[in-house]
């Protein structure tokens, strides 16, 4: 799997370039997340818009990725597809993470194409 990193004002966006986060890749995902977030800004946003399937091992790997960020940092989730959103809802993990329906919702102004913020 590949993770792509984008820096914005105050947040690092990590995009998952895979259609599934499952048991076969959960450990690798957790390690890759550590590499992409340590060190890093306080807020990390995981872009899940390409992910159409997640199992409980993948869910556990996302929980682990949040825990390894450490105190004072947070992992927000954006772009959840219906089945991924359902797994978070059924396990009540939607009460632990802040979920955004899209990256634009997670980072207003992102679509301006500027990482320095936009001034209207």
């Amino acid at each position: 799997m590949t993770l792509t990193t984008t820096e914005t004002d105050g947040a690092r966006i990590i995009t998952v370039n895979a259609d599934r986060i499952d048991a076969a890749m959960a450990i690798q995902f957790k390690e890759d997340m550590r590499e992409k977030t340590d060190p890093g800004p306080e807020r990390v946003i995981l872009d899940l818009s390409s992910v159409t399937f997640i199992d409980s091992s993948g869910l556990g790997a996302i929980v682990a990725a949040m825990k390894q960020l450490g105190d004072g940092r947070r992992l927000d989730l954006a772009g959840l597809t219906p089945m991924v959103e359902k797994v978070f809802r059924l396990t009540r993990m939607d009460t632990v993470f802040t979920l955004f329906s899209s990256l634009d919702d997670a980072v207003p102004g992102l679509d301006s194409g500027s990482s320095g913020g936009s001034y209207l």
């Binding site: 048991a23 076969a24 790997a61 825990k67 797994v87 632990v96």
Partner: protein, 149 residues
């Protein structure tokens, strides 16, 4: 993995795989593709794929203890209203010889203590219309049913 092909139009089929994470994933995608070809409504595919994934992962990780080998047979029977699936393996029995409870882990408390596992059986119970387990002749039979209409 050796896919056991069944005649075109048949609504029962079986797959055999070795107990590894990658074969479980391949078996899962092959099964979902086969079910789609047999007419499984697409809106039911997500739940079924998730339950199958949890059940297969459990066999790989616990029945065969991640040994990297061990035979698994997956039997599917798609009817007009229901889908029945049975997973057969000769690994360790479920603890106590019974299905684990369907209680979702508690998420209260500090973030450090959040559970990273323990969701699999809850999802299986939540998303199926019935689940049964039996152990016979050193063999595990886990079967579950879905309403698909």
């Amino acid at each position: 993995m050796v896919p056991q092909q069944t005649p075109r139009g048949a609504e029962r089929f079986e797959l055999r795989l070795e107990a590894t994470g990658s074969q479980a994933r391949t078996a899962l995608t092959d099964t979902m593709q086969r079910l789609a070809q047999l007419g499984l409504p697409s809106h039911r595919a997500g739940d079924i794929q998730l339950v199958l994934a949890e059940a297969l992962n459990n066999v790989v990780e616990h029945a065969y203890e991640n040994a990297g080998h061990g035979a698994i047979t997956l039997l599917c029977d798609l009817g007009p209203e229901t889908l029945d699936i049975c997973i057969v393996d000769t690994g360790k029995p479920l603890p106590g010889g019974v299905l684990p409870p369907a209680e979702f882990p508690d998420l209260a408390g500090p973030l450090d203590g959040l559970p990273e596992g323990g969701f699999g059986w809850c999802l299986i119970h939540e998303l199926t219309s019935c689940v049964q387990y039996r152990r016979e002749n050193a063999t595990n039979y886990l079967s579950f049913g879905f309403r698909i209409s």
